[in-house]
């Protein structure tokens, strides 16, 4: 018996192992293995996941389009692979060859040439009792209606993400999603006023909700009452919608967008981390009012351990006439953004955060307003030394350090008062060598209360 020195080892593996290996590749690569050898011809069909991503393919305009006199480069259809096939053809073929083997994960990313008929066909075929993850990122020519079978036959669905021009309409008799833990609804439209709340009642064990509300044209209420919710990302891009959150188990909250309508937050006692990126419509003149609303929002976050406020948010806070923040008893990490000069609300916030351990100042370079350089802050540090500085602060970080007068003053104060400060990191904008040296000289001159403090500068 002649022993062939080069033996094919991988094909000796049983089918389930090879399909396990192929499951770590993208669908495109898995399908490509079908031409390796006769044994591999159908192995890719055993992989229980499909990710159809038009970004994975190279697209060129089909010949006819190229020959047209007027070339519209933002053309949405007529794109083909160099071999001449459209995405729809490729996907239809993949479905056909796959022989309806159970599917656990289905991702679809299709922005160009997106036809609701095809998407409906694919999604309907994907909705089986084995489906665990479904992600649709589509931009169809017409608003796409989610098939109602999704609401009735997906008992095992764990992760559902819908992005794009999709209409959500849960039927009244929906059996729901008893296993759904992650839900993303970005930019979707709701068929009725109560579609959203009906959807939420279908998800008894939801843990992560990510919502983006686009302009609806009418007033809508988003009432989120979920006892199991642990994480909420909310992006409010609509001026007319209201938001109510009642989630006792919530640990992480991120809010981006407009606060034109009041946002009601109740029962957030378990909140660990909050991130606020409030947008401000600069044409609005009710700065005070808006500032008050932001203040109310922050008041509800008093129990939080980590707080991140971006530059717009702090600007709004500066407009509040009587700035009176609550006591942040548990606050240990504070990320404070600003744009041109350090807002005056910072010292007061520091006073109300007795356990603060890490303070990060973040200069937002993208800010378009150019306010004049402020004079040195009139802080009465000598009367009120914030408790956190003297007893808890261990790390201080400044991103976008410019060496301005008020900044140096602040750093000086901190160095003087922080007893257990361990690290101070300053990352600066590219400035001239001269500037750098001047700043460094000044820094070195500051008296330090903490003996173990290390200053890093880059």
């Amino acid at each position: 018996m002649v022993r062939n020195k080069k033996r094919d080892r991988i094909s000796n593996l049983p089918d389930h192992l090879v399909s396990h290996i192929l499951s770590f590749l993208t669908t495109k690569e898995a399908v490509a293995t079908s031409i390796l050898s006769s044994r591999w011809k159908t192995l890719w069909t055993l992989v229980p996941s499909l990710d159809l991503d038009e970004d994975e393919f190279e697209w060129i305009l089909s010949d006819e389009k190229q020959n047209r006199k007027k070339k519209k480069w933002d053309d949405w259809d007529g794109w083909v692979c160099p071999s001449g096939f459209t995405f729809v053809q490729i996907v239809s073929k993949i479905w056909a060859l796959r022989n309806a083997y159970p599917l656990q994960k289905f991702y679809l990313n299709l922005l160009y040439d997106c036809d609701t008929i095809h998407v409906d066909k694919w999604v309907s075929t994907a909705i089986t009792s084995d489906l665990e993850e479904l992600t649709l990122n589509i931009c169809p020519n017409l608003p796409f209606d989610i098939p109602s079978t999704l609401f009735n036959y997906c008992k095992t669905l764990v992760d559902l993400r819908l992005y794009g021009n999709i209409i959500v309409d849960p039927p009244p008799s929906s059996l729901g999603f008893p296993s759904l833990k992650i839900l993303h609804l970005l930019g979707v439209q709701y068929a009725n006023h109560d579609s959203f709340s009906r959807f939420l009642t279908c998800c008894p064990i939801l843990e992560y909700l990510c919502l983006e509300v686009i302009e609806m044209g009418e007033e809508c209420n988003f009432i989120i009452t979920l006892p199991t919710l642990k994480r909420l990302d909310f992006n409010m891009q609509d001026f007319l919608s209201r938001l109510e959150i009642n989630a006792p188990a919530l640990q992480y909250l991120e809010f981006v967008g407009f606060l034109h309508k009041v946002v009601l937050l109740e029962n957030l006692s378990n909140l660990v981390q909050a991130v606020l990126f409030v947008s401000h419509d600069s044409e609005e003149n009710d700065n005070e009012d808006y500032g008050n609303r932001v203040m109310d929002f922050i008041r509800a976050l008093y129990n939080v351990k980590s707080l991140h406020l971006d530059s717009f948010t702090t600007e709004c806070l500066c407009n509040v006439p009587e700035f009176d923040p609550p006591m942040f008893h548990n606050l240990a990490f504070f990320n404070f953004g600003f744009h041109s000069s350090i807002p005056h609300v910072l010292p007061l916030l520091l006073q109300r955060a007795p356990q603060l351990a890490v303070l990060t100042l973040n200069r937002d370079k993208s800010h378009l307003h150019s306010t004049s350089e402020q004079e040195s802050l009139k802080w009465n540090f000598y009367e009120y030394v914030p408790k956190c500085l003297s007893s808890h602060l261990t790390a201080f970080q400044f991103k976008g350090f410019k060496g301005q007068k008020d900044e140096l003053e602040l750093i000086g104060h901190i160095l003087q008062m922080a007893r257990i400060l361990k690290t101070m990191t300053l990352s600066s904008d590219p400035s001239t060598e001269k500037e750098k040296i001047r700043v460094l000289k000044e820094l070195v001159m500051f008296p330090r209360h903490s003996s173990t403090c290390q200053i890093t500068f880059h």
């Binding site: 080892r9 192992l17 290996i21 192929l22 006769s38 089909s62 001449g84 729809v88 479905w95």
Partner: protein, 400 residues
Amino acid sequence: MFWKALKKSLYHPNKVKSLNKGHLLFALSLPCFYWRCKVQFLINLHCPCQMSEGAMAVVKPEMKSYIWLQTADGSIQQVEEEVAMFCPMICREVIQTGTGSSKNYAISLPQRVNPAILGLILDYCRFHQVPGRSNKERKTFDEKFIRMDTKRLCELTSAADSLQLKPLVDLTSRALARIIEGKTPEEIRETFHLPDDLTEEEKLEPLRNITDDPRIRLLNRLYARKRKELKEREKLKNVEVEEERVDDRSVDDLLSFINGGDGDTKGTRTNKNKKKNRRRKDQSKDSCLNNEMHDLHSACHDGEGNNGLLASASTSSKLQDSAAVTFSPKLDFDDVDIDDDLDPAMKEELDREVEDFARRLNSVWPERMQELFQGRKLVPINLNGNSSMSRYTSTSLDQR
């Protein structure tokens, strides 16, 4: 208290006074295999009246205990107990059958595990069974561990799978996936020494052959024109439709004269695209009949796909047949949608045209038809394929 006592006794079997029978029996109900085996061992050690037959033979109150493993080639090795117990399969053998405690009663490992690979697996187990390691440490170890040639990696995957050691299976599978990723088919074949045993046609079959047959192209053009006319006539009146299987039969026709023959390899891309784009332009103009058009459009696509699939059926491989069989239901499914919109009268017209065409083509190649009759169970030449197709229709609907 109990846990401390248990732990103490496990590592110092001689000082077991603080444990009593009750504790041990409770511990036996623990969900963790590992602890259960340990406790079983203890019981055997200190309560001789409760010992099982097999284990009675060799219990020595040593600090370290060993498990004996035998590989397929007959060689036997002894391994520290904690290390071997990390493999679910070995653990189960020890508990259920009591083997492994002596050289004579060694656990025989599955065939896929040879001594060299067993050594590697035991190294893996030895590292990971230690509870105190951080995630970073484990990750670093794993990354170093899988640096080996692909042949060995495949053997390791196979062996780990037979021992049901899932973390190692995942690790090796990912490593193999990374090797496959980003390579061209030739490179992959070279890496794994795969035989290049597909014909050129089979390789190109999935998508390329759709456009190779000029007869298909002609038929498609005919279809497109017909459908356009039907649509236009539809605009003017409101029609009710009954379920019709005309389009099914036309598919049959396609099946009948696509012999996977000498496909014309002329570049047909431009023609096809022009046709497609024209259709699309029409669609965009006609917004009120959008849905319908998309239905037809998709069916056309599927029709082309079907043709392509069967076009290369010169090798009558099982795959071709099975794919064809499963593909038709999907096509029928679409057709059911479309049929709802077409007027029966027009369908008759369409049907007649198709029959004409079929007859014309059939007359040209009678011998080829003979070949087909022998090879296929699915495709009748005449247009009475209703029975078979209806069966598929109903199954597809049931699947829904």
